[in-house]
């Protein structure tokens, strides 16, 4: 079955949560984003953020992690129900990413996905292009991130 047949448009699906421990924030930042507010709690107090917080790319990677786990479980569930899962491909990118609030050390982010649209690829007839709204909310219920991701589906 196709994504659009399985998941109603504009219906938010809960993917799961990811905890951001200080040591994980620092480990990611040392490799990819060594700015003082991602590396050092004292330096972070002097920044606009006011405390040690995750690289925005780390926050996004957390969304991907929960999506991959969710999707593996969904494929399993669909097969058990005798449904052929949609065959998802790589993503060509995303749009309109906003980091609304810092993800601080100790925060747990709950991630969701919402199918916004599904259309035929103009250049590849065997492919659909799905646009999905991806969101993350912290333990206080405050949105921290959102972006619109594009994902290929083979038909």
């Amino acid at each position: 079955m196709r994504m659009a047949e399985l998941y109603p448009q504009n219906e938010r699906l809960v993917l799961g949560s990811h905890h951001f421990a200080a040591e994980d924030i620092i480990r990611f930042a040392r490799k990819f984003d060594p700015q003082p507010f991602h590396l050092d709690a004292e330096a972070a107090k002097q920044s606009l953020f006011g405390g040690l917080c995750a690289s925005g790319w780390h926050t996004c990677a957390g969304w991907m992690k929960t999506f991959v786990a969710f999707w593996a479980a969904e494929c399993q569930r669909l097969k058990q129900d005798g449904i052929t899962p949609p065959e998802l491909g790589p993503s060509p990118g995303f749009r309109n990413l906003r980091w609304f609030k810092p993800v601080f050390a100790g925060d747990t982010i709950a991630y969701t996905v919402t199918l916004l649209s599904s259309r035929q690829s103009a250049s590849h007839p065997g492919r659909l292009i799905n646009t999905m709204l991806c969101e993350g909310t912290n333990q206080h219920g405050e949105p921290v991130v959102r972006f619109e991701s594009t994902v290929l589906e083979f038909i």
Binding site: S47, L48, S55, A61, P90, S91, P92, F94, R95
Partner: protein, 161 residues
């Protein structure tokens, strides 16, 4: 500040200003390590699965490519800038796969610079970053913004004694 040079501030980022990225080889080991932690899809963790996919080989997660781009931004200007993070990314295009062994470089340039409406000490600088591989092909194209202080903050205070 330990650096003798004052940090770059908003005024140092006029439209057209360009920063070049140092070259960097992306290894199979780092592709797999990133993917195992964040994006364990077969084409990012397994050579054979990557070859069988439309990506054509063991390929980096798009988020890994994005994180590598971030490191390039840090190394090329953010480390020397009074930067206060980013409000977001208008668009990111992962135009081609990044395969194990690829050598990435590229550049970014300023396309817009304006003052923040809500924070008088901050300017918002919009950039386009282009990451290229060893054949000069664009692998990632990113339209993003940085918040940059108008004065150097602590660095300026030190300079003024």
């Amino acid at each position: 500040m330990t650096s003798a040079n004052p940090l770059l501030t908003f005024a140092d980022f006029p439209v057209g200003k360009r920063f070049d990225f140092p070259g960097r080889t992306v290894t199979a080991a780092e592709i797999v390590a990133f993917a195992q932690e964040f994006d364990p899809q077969p084409m990012h963790v397994d050579e054979a699965a990557g070859k069988a996919s439309i990506l054509g080989g063991l390929s980096a997660s798009g988020w890994h490519t994005s994180a590598i781009m971030m490191r390039m931004l840090c190394d090329s200007y953010i480390d020397q800038t009074a930067a206060e993070g980013s409000p977001g990314v208008d668009s990111m295009e992962w135009k081609r796969p990044v395969l194990a062994g690829d050598i990435l470089s590229g550049h970014c340039r300023v396309v817009e610079a304006r003052l923040s409406r809500s924070r008088p000490s901050i300017g918002i600088v919009r950039f386009i970053a282009e990451v290229t591989n060893q054949r000069g092909e664009t692998v990632a194209l990113c339209d993003y913004a940085n918040m940059i202080r108008i004065d150097g903050g602590e660095a300026a205070a030190h300079a003024n004694g």
